[in-house]
Symmetry: C2
Subunit: 419 residues, 2 copies
């Protein structure tokens, strides 16, 4: 018995052509939210989806909903999608794979002449990465009612430009909201962004949920001074204080079985070679599946920062700027992904997602699950990020069959919300 | 018996008026070499010196020589001066004090109707700080024949602008060289930039010389990756590697009795809060009076960097980008400063200079010495940098009497070169 498949070549073409917008010299993309590159990619998606017969809706956060009408438009729709913004010098798969795979599912259904019972929606969520405007997952957060739209409009980037003005500038500030709720089911298809699938030789990752997340912003204040005449024992060197903290923060993560800790941004002032730094601003990213262990690690990190500030004669200001609880997914949908991967002959693995995704928010009001495919070398948020075309297609096939099943669920079938 | 003095009010006015060029909100100056601010300060100096009867000469490096003619213009001239460029967010005294004090000496001599035997030259050396174009002390280095003019023209700033083009743009690329050599004596008057004079309650610092200096540029290469899904024990985190190195570098300096070590610049890539840094570029500044001990510290620092790179799975590239030998000053001129401070009733202290100065280069071909005054709180290369007006004047008085003495040295008197 033959089984419906997506078109690997077409999917590859979509991925290759969209990677042009913000392409970097080394094969990655820099497509920060609400830049010209983001706008150009959005325009391309809109053209493709409309060519494939979808309706486009843009809400006031710039979220784009591409709707393939079902037979019974009164039923709750099924949804998939992700984001088309990227990290600075990021990869060609992170986020965008989940949108173009949704497009490929639309095309495969079209080719097979299949009309689903329910509307099928592919979404592009605005500003998932949060690297230009912090916090990230802004579009899905406002959609979920967990972030305030006006507050998000007021976010500023490093040049003082606001989210609201930039959204308007690129032409994606919708004039009204589009609300397809209730949703019958939500699947987000994404690259793993870690080394686990590759190491275990599996093709499809089936996360039981997304780890919890804490973000910190830390400001150290020392005493700026000339690098020559100031005796070592009279220095209040903010770079030294920072370094002691960063060593501790990494090693606290290393000692935990569950939690990972990352110091990603470091901004010394004045950042001059013959001046003892008077200030250092830095960020911390802490994640784990176990909320209790994660909070214990946070406390240990905060204590290490205070202790090292004191030991180096500096003062310090520590702010937890973002906290997201862990998101366990809907068990029947998690099981459905396993079942469909099995039918397709694809080896699958139970896991957790270490990365946050828009589905963290969608999971709060709609039955949700995610599909992962391997990241070569475990690399992501980097220009070398890569997933084989075969694995991209395997994930798209799995998504196709999850959509076929849930999109054809008759009236009356519902999935309970996850805990 | 009354003794000739400078005019404290006039000196204060010169210092206050020149601090307008590049003034920062917090009372400092940002007047990087060859910027519009540097140009405006140069124009002001030229106007003042010419009003005081001096000739102006600008050489091909943009060094400005203001010459007050002596009675016998065939004799070797005496020279003083410093630099008018500053650190980013630097202070109002570093460098510029030595130039405007020279101007005040000219004015005080004018007021007293004194013509010296020898020409008296006040100089503004181009790009002492090296914070925009590295290395620093560029103008004096080329003047001394120790740096190549064409190579210095090719130095680029972070925006890719060249020294040569910027020098031309601000209108200070002279068309021929001005060479007043041989010089009879050179005095550089400067703030201490350290806490020693203040701590010991002395007004005039008399350094026996300038410490030696080594600069390093270091590049760490790790593996950039997503902050969530990458297990701690599989990371090659360049910020972690950097932090371990920077802790060691500080503590190696702390353990030495003679040498100081500073990590001033840190540039991680991509510098994003949810990405493990793949690269860190940083700088090290190492100084000491004892060359052997300084080189021992350099070896220990290099070894610590390599060891930590290996321990964190990163690779590293270490380059010593600048090395300056220590500069012992001319003993008779050092003694003369002591003698003149004593005659003025100013408490003086033997010391070394931890900061490098243009006199490092001038000292190589002309008998040289320096005059220091206290930095309040030992602070320099910072906006809060401060020296009391009384101390500024005390240093200017000392300079005046050193110039009066050496500028009137008759034909035949010479000072031996320092070792």
């Amino acid at each position: 018995m033959s089984i419906l498949k997506t078109d690997s070549e077409r999917l590859k073409r979509f991925l290759t052509e969209i990677a042009v917008f913000g392409a970097t010299e080394n094969g990655g993309v820099t497509r920060l939210a609400l830049t010209d590159e983001d706008r150009d990619a959005r325009n391309q998606l809109k053209a493709w989806f409309e060519e494939a017969g979808c309706e486009t809706h843009v809400d006031r956060m710039g979220n784009m909903f591409f709707v393939r009408p079902g037979r019974n438009r009164d039923l709750a729709p099924v949804l998939t999608g992700s984001h088309c913004d990227s990290q600075p010098q990021g990869g060609r798969f992170d986020g965008i794979l989940g949108i173009v795979a949704g497009l490929e599912v639309v095309c495969a259904l079209n080719d097979a002449g299949i009309t689903l019972e329910r509307d099928f929606i592919v979404v592009n969520w605005t500003n998932e990465e949060g690297s230009r405007f912090t916090p990230g997952t802004t579009g899905s957060g406002v959609f979920a009612g967990k972030l305030e739209r006006e507050a998000m409009y007021g976010l500023t980037d490093r040049n003082g430009l606001t989210f609201g003005a930039e959204l308007e500038r690129i032409g994606y500030k919708g004039v009204e909201d589009f609300d397809p709720r209730p949703l019958h089911a939500n699947f987000e298809y994404h690259i793993e962004q870690g080394p686990v699938l590759e190491r275990q030789g599996k093709t499809i990752g089936v996360p039981k949920g997304i780890v919890c997340l804490r973000w910190y912003d830390v400001d150290i204040k020392g005493v700026p001074n000339h690098a020559g005449p100031t005796p070592m024992n009279e220095r209040q060197d903010a770079v030294y204080a920072f370094s002691k903290m960063a060593v501790n923060i990494f090693e606290i993560g290393l000692a935990s079985n569950d939690v990972v800790t990352t110091v990603g941004e470091v901004h010394p002032q004045p950042n001059s070679r013959n001046v003892i730094a008077g200030d250092v601003h830095f960020t911390i990213d802490i994640r784990g599946w176990d909320e209790t262990e994660t909070d214990r690690v946070c406390s240990e990190v905060e204590e290490a920062i205070r202790k090292n500030a004191e030991a180096t004669g500096c003062s310090v200001d520590i702010r937890q700027t973002w906290a997201v609880e862990r998101a366990p997914f809907q068990p029947e949908l998690v099981e459905l992904i396993h079942e469909k991967a099995g039918e397709l002959g694809l080896p699958a693995l139970d896991m957790v997602s270490g990365a946050s995704h828009d589905t963290v928010y969608i999971n709060q009001f709609a039955p949700s699950a995610m599909i992962f495919v391997p990241s070569i070398g475990g690399r992501s948020h980097a220009e070398v990020e890569e997933t084989s075309w075969a694995d991209c297609t395997a994930g798209a096939d799995t998504l196709l069959h999850c959509i076929l099943k849930t999109g054809n669920d008759p009236e009356g079938v519902t999935y309970a919300m996850a805990d």
